[in-house]
Amino acid sequence: MSSIWVYANPKKFIDTTDRFLPALAVMSVSCLVVGLVWGFFFTPDDFRQGSTVKIIYLHVPAALMAINAWLMMLVASIIWIVRRHHVSARAARAAAPVGVVMTLIALATGALWGQPMWGTWWAWDPRLTSFLILFLFYLGYIALWEAIEDADTAADLTSILCLVGSVFALLSRYAVNFWNQGLHQGASLSLDKEENVADVFYFPLLVCIAGFVLLFIALVFLRTQTEIRARRMRALMARDRMEA
């Protein structure tokens, strides 16, 4: 069994992900279709929240992925700092726009849900505020990537920003909790069975989450491939300039 780091070779990475990508795409689309159709049309309305509750099939998975995308970027950044694998830096860059879209989906669906439930599109509730702050961190991270021309410099700087940003994002989370007790309901999913949403909502939700996870992986693979190719193209152009 060879080590996991062989996939840090860009060519090996592209070859391997190419093999998985079609299957991943099909699986994620089918999970999403099944989960969303099941969730939207074949679950009962909630006795308190009516049909608005069904937005959780978008809201919860998106919120989950928004945080997980940042965690993935953090891991990729640490790998880049420690082992300097180019694929890792490319993957961190590739994940950021996906993460920011997930954050936006979570914020937007949250606003749509909040309007009928709480009577307001937006409240400075800790969870909502944390997501807004997370959104700002994503923006800064992406802006820094875009601003720097040299690819390795950009990878170094953004990975340090990601590390520092993670600490401050966590701090903000606690600060915001302290600052305002919220009206957001408790976690929709937790390992503690008592707190979970009812089973009828639970299973389609799991399918949706699986769909979002697969979608995220597929998108990150695809975008990482693009990033690798763009990077290689730049390297080839630099070589041409050198020969000229």
Binding site: P10, R232, M242, E243
Partner: protein, 204 residues
């Protein structure tokens, strides 16, 4: 005092110099030559430790090297004396009078550095080397904007420095009249494009 072994350096992610080796002993001066863009500045910055070499090694005793680049690091709002005093204290020395004297900056000492001419600024920048008290000087185009008499001052300072067992490595195009200096032409070390069989290699 300063030794480079099989050094390769990159600029902006592109390999510019390859397989460069040289050694610099006490009392020796080495002048780097080569057309614009060959990688003189990049090499000097690598030797000064500002950027890592792509491959190969640089050997020098710790805290022996001092670097002077294109920019002099002069603060316009501070006087000549304050500028020099600052660098002397950073490098843990005190006496700046010898440095002022060597470049004839004595009567300018209390003038704000912002009011100096380009050549005078350059002299101030070069006099900084004397207050550092370090033996190995790495100089990038030290004679830019100097007139002939100032170049003579510079050559005299270099000669005195070498006589005290110091060493100097400089990139310059003009002839300083330093007969003892060796000349290293960088043109033959210019990096050639590598074959890009290895995909990872393509990123370099």
């Amino acid at each position: 005092m300063l030794q480079a072994q099989d050094l390769s350096v990159t600029r902006g992610g592109v390999r510019v110099l390859d397989g460069l080796s040289f050694a610099l002993g006490p009392g020796e001066a080495l002048v780097l030559r080569g057309p614009n863009g060959v990688g003189k500045t990049t090499l000097l910055r690598t030797l000064a430790g500002l950027q890592p070499p792509l491959s190969g090694q640089v050997h020098s005793a710790p805290e022996t090297l001092v670097y002077a680049g294109h920019a002099d690091g002069i603060k316009a709002m501070l006087s000549v004396r304050e500028n020099l005093d600052f660098w002397a204290r950073v490098f843990g020395t005190e006496d700046i009078s010898a440095a002022l004297e060597a470049y004839q900056l004595g009567n300018l000492a209390d003038r704000p550095a912002g009011l100096l001419s380009a050549g005078q600024k350059r002299r101030l920048g070069l006099s900084r080397l004397l207050v550092t008290g370090r033996p190995v000087w790495v100089l990038d185009e030290p004679t830019v904007s100097l007139d002939t008499s100032a170049v003579a001052m510079f050559a005299a300072v270099i000669r005195a420095h070498l006589a005290q067992g110091g060493a100097a490595l400089m990139a310059t195009h003009i002839d300083l009249g330093l007969t003892e200096a060796r000349v290293l032409d960088l043109t033959p070390y210019k990096a050639r494009a590598h074959s890009l069989d290895d995909f990872d290699e393509a990123f370099l």
